[in-house]
Symmetry: D3
Subunit: 245 residues, 6 copies
């Protein structure tokens, strides 16, 4: 018996879709939806690396996350107009970049740079986990593109695996998977989990919003998350396969 | 005989579509496409006005235009990260706001504010004219929404008309309508024309990029533009009608 | 019979003066007055070009417009102290630069840069048109200076023509030339027109402030403007001639 | 047999000291040392709350973390001079504030604000965990001060518990407690764990720097961390006791 | 026998002029010239005071100093465009404001604010001392204006005296008065001295640029400076008298 | 008979201490205390010079001054968070740098840079003079370090002397040495004096806060200051000697 607003069971993802080939210009692109959360992810491949990396025979992968002003229920002011990026935006941008780099062999990438832009077009909780999940698809496409262009040798394997992410939380004492905004604000504990396609951990960020959580609760959350990212991994692979058919 | 890359005649618009109801949150929204140029326009209605307008019994309508980093062929750096909005962005934001206010009776709007966000998701020339054209649709919806919510009295008519915009230019000596990026960069003269639904002018911005233009050329450009905005007006009305059916 | 505050006829310029040689340091300089509007224009010639133009065998001309805090009736805060340039300031700076570049052959200029600073010392409407008109004089002097210094070959003609600008507007239904502040705020339509010395258009920016304007009104405005810039062209030439006597 | 540079066993904290009463001005203050890492924590108590909290009958606790330019082996440029706070600095400031608020009953605090400044005077790894551990001591003192001043009623208990934090990591396959800089840069996985004095979790942030970690490794890290924060809790209590003797 | 480039004796001011009534808008204005150094000083009088002074029954006098980009031999970049005011600009703005406040009775001024803008139009050394000297004239006019407008009671004496400033320096071992740029860069010691009309000191800022100076040298510099400001005081009074004739 | 709060005589310094070797990382460091004013000074030595000095065969010495948020009685907001450095901070940073450069032979330093950071940890008046006094000690150590590392030849003498600074002021008509905050705010005149170890002047900054001062008062202040810096010079030398024992 579910107590969730949308009748999902506690271990059920929202409806997740990943639509590739969205952008006419980008070397890789995907619109990822986790329910009503929609994120446009584009991968921009450029030859060369930032100055601080030059001559080290390595590539660079980085990410920028942002939210359109009216992605949310109330319009938020535009960060470009305010003249600075919020702490939240920077924190998520750093998280997405770190998660992607965990599965990139920068030596195999050569002196090339891939920037992944994750722009939240509509927000309903879980934007950072959707962003990571979609960003990896755009990244994989951009690397495939570069191989097709022979910018990267066909034998090189810059991508050492896949990455997916999901949120979990404890609401009214129950651990639940993939929280929409409505649940997120009520959660006693909120956790974002990033794993590889094999189910190993890349990043765990758990925060007690209302009250501290114990080891048993942590274990329950991790079990849900790992099962969730396994499903996301399948959806990612299906999207990539569909894109090349 | 057309000399245009996409085989259009010189007085032909690109394929124009306006899809309303795009956003789950905004009081009005539309994705407008002029060929490969796509702009997401959302209207955010809030009660109250900016401090400098308080107590004057008038409303306020303003607009913000921006481009996603990879809307273009090459990724441009994010204005929020650079910490300031470019002159071009500000100039277009001001243009869109001015164009919309030309058909708003701010007294009839009451002390309410509508902010129109125009985010260019994909760019291929004419982004500012597409933005104005789509912004008006989102604005009209937001006003209708407020009337439905009884925030605005049903007898009030804050919208005194409609607004549409199109670019025209002279390429190889020939005046042409609705330039994609490829034509825009080659144009000797580039002009953006904003008109009301009745075909009167709200704004004319013409610039000789390569060589000065004479009065006859100006007249030819204006003829094309006015015919173009007449068609855009029809498409706007059809989109609004479809939305309410 | 004139209805204008200063008894001018509708097609009459204010008293216009251009005083050259104002600055002890600049390679070209002029103080231009359109009635009570006074703008100090200096041209700074430097060898070399911005990084993005290097090695292209072309020069660069750009402009910066600004207003002293108490140029206006009420003091406005200093943009340097606020830490950013307003949209209006950027828009006008871009306009002035674009207008000047329309008559510059950057190849003939060689890899040299000319920056024109237009600082409004006193404002009474039409500051941007006065700025363009004075800026061209300072520019012409700086190019002459460079030729005298043999930085530019005597056979090179970087200046392909002259540029002047004037405002026109519709007030109480009547088209009028060269609006002071008092008329500018009352205008239903406000237009800035930049032409070459031959009377061709370089830039037209017309905005319906109060109500849309039709084609006949537009034609009336353009007629006034072209006649006005013809007179300004004569005043520019006289100023340059006087400077060399 | 230890493989650690400083001969500690893998489950051993560095030498930890907390010296209170450091500042002549602040309502609470502590210099906390985790080995060579030294952080000055001051608590500033002010009556009133930020605007967005007014009239809600609640207090506010927030934190700012920063590093002196030469706290590190190489001087880093000053964030005030660069004109913006780095993503890392913001991220840690937010973490410290969140950790402290987890044990504050803001209603019991009344409409008062406590700002905790954590300035890293010398850095050798673990600055954020030292900052949290010291910040809590300064916070506790400031609340005690306010109670002494009768700004907070003596019956009110704004502090619902204590908070301490420690880093753990996997180096050469071995989980280790409290990493100095030298170990931190070599760690395959790096985790910061914040717990209450009772050993429940407030925040877990684990990142695979070099390679993903599995559930068994995660469990080993959490065991070390919980044992470490238990010791830090004792040191905090001793410091507070010593301060009142 | 003088060794100065312009044949002045060591204790001689440059040609100093103060032209009042320069601005059509400002409540007080003066263009002050110390040789080729020219500064436009405007005084803006507004009723009310900054927030932090409200309800204290006192007025406020402040100053902003700036230099036009091409006031100098080489164009300097515009501070508004760079997005921040240099340390030098702030330092001089603070100095000018402090010097003026030394002769203002803010209680007698009532809750009114006077902002003095000092914009250097042409620079040839001594811009800060010229600015102070001219600023005081603009200030005196603005106070007279307010008395005429009956904003200040006729019996109130907000101005308790006059202020003038001059630079002195040691060049090749000789103390000299009022240094132009050419001498300023060669000076071993550079000193700016601000005095009242009675010859008492308001501010002394002496800096050893090349080598430390001893007490005898200091005394020689102060003697020159005090004699110089006495002459400047006479010129200020003459300018004010001429303005009212 | 003294009227000073802390029973000092008018010509007596506060308790001054200079503790060297404070930092584990910096090439030179000192914590200097003038009574309750404490400043941490670190010297960072790096090879190479800023771009504008390259190839001139000279070194560079600069300083940055800052105050921790709660160094003062009331917390001040953090300059990094506000996004800009205050005028006061810049002014003092420039003063400290200038004072140090007065005793540095930049040719003898070679193409090396020394940055002195002066962070006020606790403030009670005279922070800038304490900063200068401590900064010189850190600078001397860094130069000695570079000589030890053979980055500077042992025969080179980059340091041509020593520098110390002290504040003096007139309170209730009496000239006094080394003012704490409490006296500083009451002072009619406030002066900071920087001298060499030989007692020659490097910088004099005197400001009439309440009423102008005359020549006799100036002389009395200078006498006190020179006697004070002589004592500070002895304390500096003792600190350096102790550090090498």
């Amino acid at each position: 018996m579910s107590t969730r607003a949308d009748n999902r069971s506690v271990d059920q993802l929202r409806n997740v879709t990943i639509e590739t080939g969205w952008s006419a210009h980008a070397e890789g692109s995907a619109v990822v939806s986790f329910g009503n959360t929609k994120v446009l992810c584009t991968a921009s491949f450029t030859e060369g690396v930032p100055r601080w990396l030059k001559g080290k025979n390595r590539g660079w992968v980085t990410a920028e996350y942002a939210m359109l002003p009216r992605a949310t229920g109330e319009r938020s002011s535009r960060e470009s107009v305010r003249g600075k990026v919020s702490g939240r935006t920077q924190e998520i941008s750093r998280l997405v970049g770190r998660a992607l780099r965990a599965v990139v062999d920068t030596k195999a990438l050569g002196e090339n740079t891939i920037v992944i832009d994750c722009d939240v077009i509509q927000a309903d909780g879980g934007t950072r986990t959707a962003a990571i999940t979609g960003a990896w698809v755009a990244l994989a496409q951009a690397i495939e593109w570069a191989r097709g262009q022979r910018i990267i040798r066909s034998s090189a394997k810059p991508l050492t695996g896949s990455v997916a992410a999901v949120s979990v939380g404890i609401i009214d004492g129950t651990a639940m998977l993939d929280l929409p905004y409505e649940e997120d604000v009520r959660a006693e504990t909120d956790m974002n989990v990033v794993t590889t396609g094999e189910g190993d951990f890349i990043e765990i960020q758990g925060t007690a919003e209302e009250q501290p959580f114990n080891r048993a609760e942590l274990d329950a959350l991790l079990d849900l998350a790992v099962a969730g990212t396994a499903q996301l991994t399948d959806i990612q692979q299906a999207a990539l396969t569909a894109a090349t058919e």
